[in-house]
């Protein structure tokens, strides 16, 4: 694949690639197990060193690059492992919302009798703010990684469905679709073989935005205490634990906050760049 000329794409993709490397290589980047704690190393400032007790009962010397929290856990390790959770939730939620939204959108756009009822249900979901749907679903199901991903994906489905439906309605009038219909091609093959490939570019852009929003929403849920359980190191959880001592030790909130903001920013910039690259007509709009 050729490297896109667009600077937004380059910057966004490089930052994301860097984060992905950090997430994958987390165990080899001078981290300790993010759940390890040591009462002797509580509330250390960034850069201070202290001791940490491993599960085997050994005491290690460890430099706390980003300080430690009120349990004596290493913030640096927690932030790096948190990258894994954020990226996984972002990508999985976007993929889930896209997959379901595409199927529903194709059905609504192609099977006219289904269009009315299906789109009214979608309107109903869109009437409730996304954060509230996610909070309510997590409250209903008890939080774990899969439920959080699904809870974040559901409020995004209507947006994808509407986009795909609108695209299908315009594409189905194209001569090549008419030709396929005239040749007696089955509906399923027309939908997935002829119409779907032509919706890829806008879907890629939309998927990127959903990914950014999902990362944000996951950290909001964790931060409010209704997301992933506190023993999983996520950026939202680290900040939720750090907020109590924010006045004395702002580093607990600062480092995960910077990582979170940088990640979401990178994904958004990538989305803007992809939009401008893939669809020059849309670039003039919002």
């Amino acid at each position: 694949m050729r490297i896109p000329q667009n600077w937004s794409v380059r910057i966004g993709a490089s930052v994301l690639a860097l984060l992905l490397v950090l997430a994958v290589l987390a165990p080899w980047l001078g981290t300790v197990d993010p759940t390890l704690f040591d009462a002797a190393s509580r509330d250390l400032r960034p850069g201070e060193s202290g001791e940490i007790l491993t599960l085997e009962g050994e005491t290690l010397r460890h430099t706390f690059l980003m300080g430690s929290d009120s349990f004596g856990r290493d913030i640096y390790s927690r932030v790096l492992y948190g990258t894994r959770v954020s990226l996984a939730v972002g990508i999985a939620s976007a993929a889930a919302a896209l997959a379901i939204g595409v199927v529903l959108g194709l059905l609504a756009g192609y099977l006219r009798w289904l269009d009315g009822p299906l789109m009214r249900v979608m309107d109903g979901i869109m009437a409730i703010p996304a954060v509230l749907i996610a909070i309510a679903l997590v409250a209903l199901w008890r939080a774990s990684l899969p439920t959080v991903i699904v809870a974040i994906a559901i409020p995004e489905i209507p947006r994808v469905t509407r986009l795909v439906r609108a695209l299908v309605l315009s594409i189905r009038e194209e001569p090549y679709v008419e030709a396929a219909v005239a040749l007696g091609t089955p509906a399923g093959k027309i939908m997935f073989g002829h119409i779907l490939p032509n919706t890829v570019a806008p879907l890629l852009v939309q998927g990127t935005y959903i990914c950014a929003f999902a990362i944000l929403l996951e950290s909001i849920l964790s931060f409010l205490g209704v997301g992933l359980p506190p023993d999983i190191p996520t950026w939202g959880n680290i900040m939720a634990e750090g907020r109590v001592q924010f006045v004395a030790y702002p580093h607990n909130v600062f480092f995960p906050g910077v990582f979170l903001a940088a990640t979401v920013l990178a994904v958004n910039i990538l989305g803007d760049g992809l939009r401008d690259t893939l669809d020059p007509k849309m670039a003039k709009r919002v």
């Binding site: 909070i135 997590v138 409250a139 950014a212 931060f223 900040m239 907020r243 924010f246």
Partner: protein, 251 residues
């Protein structure tokens, strides 16, 4: 059947009893309404007053440094999470400068000045993403209006630039701006939940989180229903307001 009973109760104003607070959900919502309403109203006011002039200015100087700075800010505004921004502001304004209280809420009727002081940081926090959204759409729609023939005519007859921008460009861009203000209410409601938690404001957002943590389902249901109702009602009002914003639209 359960749903029918629930709908019947709902229509008679009965949202059920809170498991946790042991009072009617409707009463509970009424009690917590004031702080949230004050915060949301102030936020909308700040956001609209700031973002529309910024958007017009950016469209007027399209491609200039101000335009690029505003678009940069707008991407930032979408990306920085509400609570990270909140802590940044608390750290700067309350801890370093000591100008404003860290958190809490004072009732409107108790002390108006303190009430405002406690709301300044939360509403700035909340308005950033809203400003980013409205400014973007204002810029885009004013930009589109500026390309029209009537703008050239207005300029040609020697109208002052400000009048051209406001009376001709902005007035014709009003409908999309009103629409996005309505859509942004959803963002605002999401933001209220987080902001009230950070600043310890005893409003509906805080109630939502408390209810979820206590697994108090009647309250969760009631609050979500209430928020969705407000969101839909505001958007309906905005749809109706198109008639005033654009005389061509008739229902």
């Amino acid at each position: 059947m359960q749903f029918a009973i629930w709908m019947g109760q709902l229509l008679s104003g009965d949202l059920g009893q809170s498991y946790y607070f042991r009072i009617d959900v409707a009463t509970l919502i009424a009690q917590r309404l004031e702080p949230t309403f004050a915060l949301a109203a102030l936020t909308i006011l700040v956001a609209v007053l700031v973002s529309i002039p910024l958007g017009v200015l950016a469209a007027w100087r399209f491609g200039g440094w101000f335009d690029r700075a505003l678009m940069g800010f707008s991407v930032m505004g979408f990306s920085v999470p509400v609570f990270v921004l909140a802590y940044l502001l608390i750290w700067l304004m309350s801890l370093k400068l000591g100008w404003l209280p860290v958190q809490g809420y004072v009732r409107f009727s108790e002390d108006f000045l303190l009430f405002l002081k406690h709301l300044i940081l939360p509403s700035i926090t909340l308005s950033v993403i809203y400003i980013a959204l409205i400014a973007r759409v204002t810029r885009a729609s004013v930009l589109e209006a500026l390309g029209e023939d009537y703008i050239r005519t207005a300029r040609a007859k020697g109208l002052p630039e400000l009048r051209v921008l406001v009376r001709h460009a902005l007035a014709n861009a009003a409908v999309p701006i009103a629409t996005v203000i309505g859509i942004g209410i959803a963002l605002l409601i999401g933001g209220v939940v987080v902001t009230e938690s950070v600043y310890a404001i005893p409003g509906l957002g805080r109630l939502t989180v408390d209810a979820v943590l206590a697994r108090d389902f009647p309250t969760i249901q009631g609050v979500i229903l209430f928020f969705s109702f407000v969101y839909v009602a505001i958007n309906l009002l905005i749809d109706v307001s198109y008639v005033f914003l654009d005389p061509r639209i008739r229902y």
